[in-house]
């Protein structure tokens, strides 16, 4: 529980909230306290006793799905208003109903909201009066007039009555916060706490309020906080675009949220559809979790929490490096298990004690991020020097770096590692703030969509690619900047750069042209496989890209060995020679680190299987490790050509056909043979050997079957006797077949 405390304190400090109130009832009963008359008098008391108490009773925290608190019912997943500070704006002047801006009365009659100033109007108070709520956008006469440039005096409230600000207005003028409750619990001392995900208003993002932002738009952040239930005001409703469209008259506390804002990288991500899914899969137990369950969810929450903490509260120094790596991989976007509704981790998964081999297998997984990245120090040094050079100067010069190398040589991983390292430098204040955008060329639907992707990440707004190109060009050419971060350098990482190649290469040209413009503040890092990509491009592009290059050569066997050993550090599961053998083999073939890891993992599986077969484990230490034999078997499997095996197991006529084909092709010297000739040969052979004669159609069928598995290449069967056949494998493989063939 201890990782939870620092943030608790910090957030509470910010709220200046006090822990004086102790709700003593059971959570499911409504609390008859009068509403909002609880302004606690003692300000600025950081919660000191909290951590101690937690340490004393670490497991008595009770989690709830739903809590009835202070007259309102709050559940995980609800959106709520949160008080921002105490006493600044007295609670009393909040009205839950909006007043008409003309007659200054709130009444039961229908009101219509102006889309510009968000003021409410009675239908009959508007001049000319409205009969019904208009379709589409509507602006009040005052706003229309103002827009047209006319000065018009808005009606003033009568004496003694002020315009009351609703919670919505307070939120939009940043006097309140909005948040989404992620989980609710009660501490042993009876205080109710909630973990919330903050929403922010467009003004608070790095990009500022954009013209496209709606009045009621909010951004969800990846920032989580722990707050007391005391500070929660009441419900509001943050909706996805679709829900918002349908929510015509759901009251005043409706907001619109389409994007998630990453508070670290200052970029925007469109919310995935997961949020729309109704949470029907939740397990039905509505009661507080029992002890076993509680333990599960605690560990979940905590692990998730750790990472989140590392991710978001980076101002604290002295962090554990490995942790940060793990958290950054996900860019801090964690939705929590609640989304899928599975909270219970199977017993056998939790209680299973891993053997050495299983541990080895787990660390050899491609997905596990290694603690250190050996063998790429020089390259990483170069990348980080490049990036630092580009952004450290006051005048950020646009630059471009091209990284190439065969697959599996750690290109993307190195760049990301450098970026992580730089970010920690950024937090310690040694570096100017910058914005990092990562795009994978193969994940774009078409090359042009890259503009859309870049613009969306920069501004949190989605437009067509042509429009995005227009905005971006303006931005980089020094015209109007996108967002507030005008002078912040932007580092753009494009993976699989070659996929952006279009016929006239305009996409690449544009992207590589921007950095060369003065004041563009853009740094482009391109990654691709081919060494000569710049040379394949038009000269005007290659001159922009080809100046600074970095080559990631294939790993040699020493490096592969080092990579594997560093991953397996502390796990005595592999023989020394076995690793060397595997890395030598792979280095000779491709130098692909993925391949080497995969082979080792497969070998570990073989060894595991072998040990389980022999029945007794852990008796003999020497035998429980991966040996040369296992590696050999794994390599066999990876590099084995399957066609010989298949040909060996062909039906008899299949073999005869293959041999006859080799014979015919050899005789004619051509590359292909028609089935007509082939069948004649086969039948004459069968005749000579007193075999049962196969029919023509049978032969045709067998040929088509062989063609399916691409041992031979053949045309479709409807061509009957005119069907042409070709061999797909070198014919000496087939000579080998002749030896094993029973006849001829």
């Amino acid at each position: 529980m201890s990782p939870a405390t620092p943030s608790t304190v910090r957030r509470s400090l910010r709220l200046l909230e006090t822990p004086t109130k102790v709700p003593s009832e059971t959570p499911v009963k409504p609390r008859p306290t009068p509403k909002r008359k609880r302004a606690a008098p003692s300000p600025k008391t950081p919660i000191q006793p909290e951590p101690k108490r937690q340490r004393r009773q670490p497991k008595k925290r009770a989690y709830y799905r739903k809590v009835v608190y202070d007259g309102g019912e709050f559940a995980a997943g609800d959106d709520v208003y949160v008080k921002r500070r105490e006493g600044a704006e007295s609670d009393a002047d909040e009205s839950e109903e909006e007043m008409c801006r003309v007659c200054f009365r709130s009444g039961v009659t229908v009101m219509v909201e102006c889309d510009v100033c968000l003021g409410g109007f009675h239908l009959r108070c508007v001049r000319p009066p409205l009969r019904c709520v208009p379709e589409g956008e509507w602006a009040c006469p005052y706003c229309t007039a103002e827009r047209a440039g006319k000065a018009i005096e808005r009606p003033k409230p009568p004496e003694g009555k002020r315009i009351m600000r609703t919670a919505k207005e307070k939120l939009l003028s940043s006097d309140l916060w909005a948040a989404r409750i992620e989980s609710l619990w009660r501490e042993p001392d009876g205080i109710f706490w909630a973990k919330v995900r903050w929403y922010i208003i467009p003004e608070e993002t790095a990009a500022g309020r954009q013209p496209h932002n709606l009045r009621r738009e909010l951004y969800r952040t990846n920032d989580l906080g722990v707050i007391e239930m005391e500070t929660i005001l009441r419900h509001c409703y943050v909706m996805s675009p679709n829900e918002f469209k349908d929510a015509n008259d759901d009251g005043d506390d409706v907001f619109y949220c389409e994007y998630e804002y990453d508070i670290n990288w200052h970029n925007f991500k469109r919310l995935a559809d997961i949020d729309d899914e109704p949470e029907t899969k939740e397990d039905p137990s509505d009661e507080p979790y029992n002890a076993g369950n509680e333990y599960d969810s605690d560990t979940d929450e905590d692990s998730e929490y750790d990472e989140e903490e590392e991710q978001t509260k980076c101002s604290s120094a002295g962090k554990n490096q490995a942790h940060e790596l793990a958290a950054n991989l996900w860019k801090g976007r964690i939705y929590g298990l609640q989304k899928i509704g599975i909270r219970k981790i199977p017993e056998h998964v939790r209680c299973h004690q891993k053997t050495e081999l299983e541990k080895a297998k787990a660390t050899l997984l491609l997905a596990t991020l290694p603690k250190s990245l050996p063998c790429r120090d020089k390259e990483m040094e170069e990348i980080s020097a490049f990036v630092k050079d580009a952004i450290c100067n006051d005048q950020c010069l646009g630059r471009c770096l091209y990284i190439h190398g065969v697959p599996g040589t750690g290109k993307t991983m190195s760049v990301l590692a450098v970026m992580r390292r730089l970010r920690s430098e950024l937090e310690s204040g040694n570096l100017r703030p910058y914005c990092f955008i990562e795009i994978n060329g193969l994940k774009l639907a078409s090359p042009e969509n890259i503009y859309k992707a870049i613009y969306e990440q920069l501004s949190g707004h989605r437009v067509g690619w042509k429009k995005a190109l227009h905005f971006l060009t303006e931005h980089f050419l020094g015209g109007t900047k996108v967002g507030k971060q005008a002078n912040k350098p932007i580092i753009l990482l494009i993976d699989e750069l070659d996929l952006l190649l279009t016929r006239n290469q305009s996409v690449l040209y544009n992207i590589l042209d921007w950095p060369t413009r003065p004041n563009s503040n853009l740094v482009v890092i391109g990654i691709a496989n081919t060494m000569d990509l710049p040379e394949k491009l038009l000269p005007r592009i290659s001159s922009r890209m080809g100046i600074q290059r970095l080559c990631f050569g294939p790993y040699n066997y020493r490096q592969l060995q080092e990579i594997i050993t560093s991953r397996l550090k502390g796990i005595p599961a592999f023989e020394e020679q076995a690793i060397e053998f595997a890395s030598r083999k792979v280095a000779a073939m491709s130098g692909d680190a993925r391949r080497a890891l995969e082979i080792c993992r497969r070998a570990a599986e073989f060894a595991d299987y072998r040990i389980k077969q022999s029945g007794h484990t852990s008796m003999n230490r020497g035998k429980n490790v991966v040996s040369m034999g296992d590696i050999e078997a794994a390599i066999q499997e990876v590099f084995l050509a399957p066609h010989i095996q298949v040909m060996k197991n062909c039906p008899k006529f299949g073999k005869i056909i293959l041999v006859a084909m080799v014979h015919e092709l050899y005789k004619s010297g051509l590359g292909e043979v028609t089935i007509d000739k082939l069948a004649a040969t086969v039948i004459s052979w069968c005749h000579a050997n007193r075999e049962l004669l196969p029919g023509y159609d049978t032969l045709l069928k067998i040929c088509c079957k062989l063609g399916e598995s691409k041992i031979i290449l053949c045309e479709e069967g409807t061509k009957h006797k005119l069907q042409k056949l070709q061999l797909n494998y070198p014919s000496n493989d087939r000579n080998y077949l002749i030896n094993i063939s029973p006849d001829s």
Partner: protein, 301 residues
């Protein structure tokens, strides 16, 4: 509505959630080789998701192509685990065991015990028969796949003696011969004499190394044959054309190219081999001797 980009992201998020919840997802891509066309975005995203986060997911590609993994792009292949499992056709022994397993009735079925005993005894005796070995061998000589065997067994059961409800060696033989049918020979069998004439004429033309010929050429050849032998099978032009169309419908002959020209002038091709034609003439009892001779004679011309 969502672009592929969004969907990829959604999938990756979903995978991560499932990974956290210890739920495993298995993707099975059937006809895997067809996913390897184009830019292989799907495969790339899937395999990349496999390795870039702690997702508990498995991708299984099923393909009948041996070289399916060669179709992958370099960067996709690097992400592929190179685990291949080949399903080879089973050996004759295991096939026999499969057949036994499939044909034997279970002891505890609702059928009368006496019948079950008798039936199983009969099946066992058939399996130990030497003739059965021959049948099995000739079956596996052409195709030893399980689906082939299943098709065969279905026919065997369809040939079951309905009075006794037992299988006999005869039903196996019948099934084998029905598996061995040659559809082209069958359709050659019931052609009319005129149609056979046309086929023989086409064959003669091919033998004379006319690389391309059409209905008019065939009619010329037909007329010359009729003039030489003065058979009773001299039909008018329209009747011949109808027979020609009939052959086209049966796909014994086909047009060489798809488009253009009136039917009479479009080049045609013969789709059956001379071997098949000769055999069908031999088997056809109503076939006039002249036809045989025509086919044989031009072989020595």
């Amino acid at each position: 509505m969502a672009s592929s980009d969004d969907n990829t992201e959604f999938m990756i998020d979903m995978l991560r959630e499932c990974g956290l919840a210890h739920k495993t997802i298995i993707f099975v891509l059937e006809e895997f080789d067809l996913f390897a066309q184009g830019k292989q975005r799907l495969l790339y995203s899937l395999l990349d998701a496999m390795q870039s986060l702690t997702s508990q997911a498995i991708v299984i590609g099923v393909s009948c192509r041996l070289d399916a993994d060669q179709l992958l792009e370099k960067r996709v292949r690097s992400r592929f685990s190179h685990r291949k499992l080949i399903f080879l056709p089973s050996s004759v022994d295991s096939l026999q065991r499969l057949m036994e397993h499939l044909l034997m009735l279970p002891e505890d079925s609702h059928l009368p015990t006496k019948y079950v005993m008798e039936y199983n005894a009969r099946v066992t005796s058939i399996f130990s028969d030497k003739k059965f070995k021959g049948i099995l061998n000739s079956l596996t000589d052409s195709d030893a796949t399980t689906s082939h065997i299943l098709r065969f067994l279905f026919r065997v059961v369809s040939y079951m003696d309905m009075d006794s409800g037992l299988l006999s060696m005869q039903s196996f033989m019948n099934a084998l011969s029905s598996m061995r049918r040659q559809p082209k020979m069958d359709s050659l069998q019931d052609l009319s004499i005129l149609e056979l004439y046309i086929l023989v004429c086409m064959h003669r033309l091919e033998d004379k190394e006319h690389s391309s010929y059409n209905f008019t050429t065939i009619m010329k050849e037909y007329k010359s044959v009729q003039d030489a032998y003065r058979t009773s099978d001299n039909y008018s032009h329209t009747v011949c054309f109808r027979a020609f169309e009939h052959l086209l419908d049966r796909e014994l002959i086909s047009f060489a190219d798809k488009k253009g020209k009136a039917l009479e002038y479009r080049p045609v091709k013969l789709l059956i081999s001379s071997h098949e034609l000769a055999q069908s003439l031999k088997l056809n009892t109503t076939c006039p001797a002249v036809l045989q001779k025509l086919l044989d004679r031009e072989r020595y011309m």
